[in-house]
Amino acid sequence: MVMSLSPRTISVLQRVGDAISYVCLVFAAIALFVIVGICGANVACRHFAGFAFSWGEEAMLFLMILMIFAGATAAAWQGSHMHLDMLVRRLPLVWRKASIIASATISVVLLLTLSVASSEVVSALYRFDQRSVALEFPMWIPQGSVTAGFIMMAVMIVLRLVVFGAQLPKTEAELIEHAS
């Protein structure tokens, strides 16, 4: 698969992966700042103004879930999801590549299967217009971030395999060493 693509195509795909990953991280970072803001405002209002936002908890949780799946998409592109690679790193190159491809294939099949099942829940929530208790926010949106996250992670795993081939990602220590 990798052999049949020209370096130019791979370079374009890498830029696409980088861009999607960055956009996801921007969403996640904004969500993080909003969570901090709501949390601080809630504590301040409760102690100094004698009231609290009844919707604060729900809003922060929905933002956190969005943040997790957006960040997880970026982590899938970086190949930095927690995994155990001490055995694979000791395998001969051919076996190592085979295990990485097998792992990626299982991941993609699973994530796509789960996204289909997940979309059934989300579409039901949309049809019945189910809303949250305090914020009265349509529940299909935060729950839909799970479905979207599954799909996006599958896309990024495929993209990573195409662009970088069957390579193990750098360890955290290697990244720190590289950065310094």
């Binding site: 996640a28 949390c39 995994h83 155990l84 935060p142 220590a173 060493e177």
Partner: protein, 425 residues
């Protein structure tokens, strides 16, 4: 077949280096398909339901606060203060290294980052003072895991959520064990310095201490604000994490001025990945844990272990060995999420306090992070400081014994963890 799905498939997939959350989701999916317990859409509900928990919000917020403190000068000033205060005794540099790792670890969310930051800062000085490179790197490798035990600990928050226990009480229970481990390490380092005949360092100079203290006043107030706020009943642990973020931002941006807005933005981007790496595990564990519980496996396990009529001490010993092994191959969040639904019913049946057990789990997993041959920090130090693994294996053995001694004490003397709780109650 059930055992193959719950244990065999995960082990094979872990060996294939599949992401751990994928491993848990695969086991849950296969389990649902095989046992016909629910439609596949139940996995979606388990994933969302597990994340939709207010105490979990503390994790991204504490990680964000820790990253700002680590990069914004708050942690460094605390370390400078520790170095200025500890002096005039043999081994003071080593003791200060232990103190610094504890202080940095309490703020930073990553043990590897702690090893890297403190190691780069202190190893040249330790080597120059005659401690030897291998010992210095081993010391950093072993002390870097103390962040798992000293509150606010991400591992404890995850245990609190998985075991449905109070995070505030877990933090409180972790203070004494954290200090005992730090003290044990300090005593060992001083003994080692005496054996190596390392010269006694300069006595602390009042002027230097006051200067460091003045500089670190805002840093010192951070733990006071977090822990004081929680135990003073001013805010919940989750809110404390949010307040810690705001405090760290204000101090780093406006008082110390070591960060600008662009730096904060970069930290937020980095934090987002770190948070996702941990929280997606919780999502996967939600589905895996739900299936394990629904299948009745924990009840069967409790029945089986009860039928063995094991003494409580023996049961705890066996659990400690299992946790040490698992902790040396899995990161603490993953290990806690996989093991808590299985082990908690077993120890509850044996009348072990769940908060006490949380600390036993936490200390085990901390030791696992530098336990030869697979501990994560060993590989980190090998990469960062270029010390061969066999030398590191030998170097960390004394530290394994120190942590192990504290673990035994903690396991069989629950008052160490529970006394502050009883006092608080």
């Amino acid at each position: 077949m059930t055992a193959l799905i719950f244990a065999g498939v995960p082990v094979v997939m872990l060996a294939l280096s599949a992401p751990i959350f994928i491993v848990m989701l695969t086991a849950a999916t296969l389990g649902i398909l095989y046992l016909h317990l629910a439609p596949l859409a139940a996995i979606h509900s388990a994933v969302f339901g597990n994340l939709d928990s207010f105490p979990l919000l503390a994790i991204p917020l504490f990680i964000f606060a820790g990253e700002i403190m680590a990069r914004g000068g708050i942690a460094r000033r605390l370390i400078d203060l520790i170095f200025s205060v500890i002096g005039g005794v043999r081994g003071s540099l080593g003791v200060a290294t232990v103190g610094s790792a504890a202080a940095f670890g309490a703020m930073s969310g990553s043990s590897v980052a702690c090893v890297a930051a403190i190691g780069k800062l202190t190893i040249p000085a330790l080597v120059k003072n005659g401690y030897g490179r291998n010992f210095s790197v081993s010391l950093i490798t072993a002390t870097g895991v103390i962040d798992v035990i000293i509150p606010p600990s991400i591992t404890m928050i995850i245990y609190g959520v998985a075991a449905q226990q109070s995070v505030a009480l877990l933090f409180l229970a972790g203070i004494v064990p954290g200090f005992i481990i730090a003290a044990g390490l300090a005593v060992y380092v001083m003994g080692r310095a005496r054996r190596l005949n390392i010269p006694i360092g300069e006595k602390p100079r009042l002027g230097a201490v006051l200067l460091a203290l003045r500089s670190a006043v805002w840093s010192l107030f951070a733990p006071v604000l977090i822990l004081g706020g929680i135990y003073g009943g001013i805010f919940t642990p989750t809110e404390a994490a949010g307040i810690a973020c705001i405090y760290a931002l204000v101090v780093s941006l406006l008082i110390y001025r070591e960060l600008n807005l662009m730096d904060v933005w970069r930290i937020a981007l980095d934090t987002s990945v770190l948070v996702a790496q941990i929280m997606i595990l919780i999502a996967g564990a939600g589905a895996y844990g739900w299936l394990i519980t629904t299948s009745g496996f924990p009840a069967d396990l409790v029945g089986f272990i009860t039928s063995l009529h094991l003494d409580k001490w023996l049961l705890l010993l066996v659990i400690n060995v299992v946790l040490l092994f698992i902790g040396s191959v899995l990161e603490p969040p993953a290990a806690i999420l996989v093991l808590t639904p299985l082990l908690l019913p077993v120890v509850t049946e044996a009348h072990v306090d769940p908060i006490h057990f949380g600390l036993v789990v936490t200390v085990n997993l901390a030791i696992g992070m530098f336990l030869p041959p697979f501990g994560l920090n060993l590989f980190a130090s090998n990469t960062l400081f270029k010390v061969p693994l066999p030398i590191l294996y030998r170097g960390v053995i004394p530290f394994v014994f120190i942590y192990g001694a504290v673990l035994i004490l903690l396991t069989y003397v629950p008052e160490i963890t529970l006394a502050p709780l009883n006092w608080m109650r």
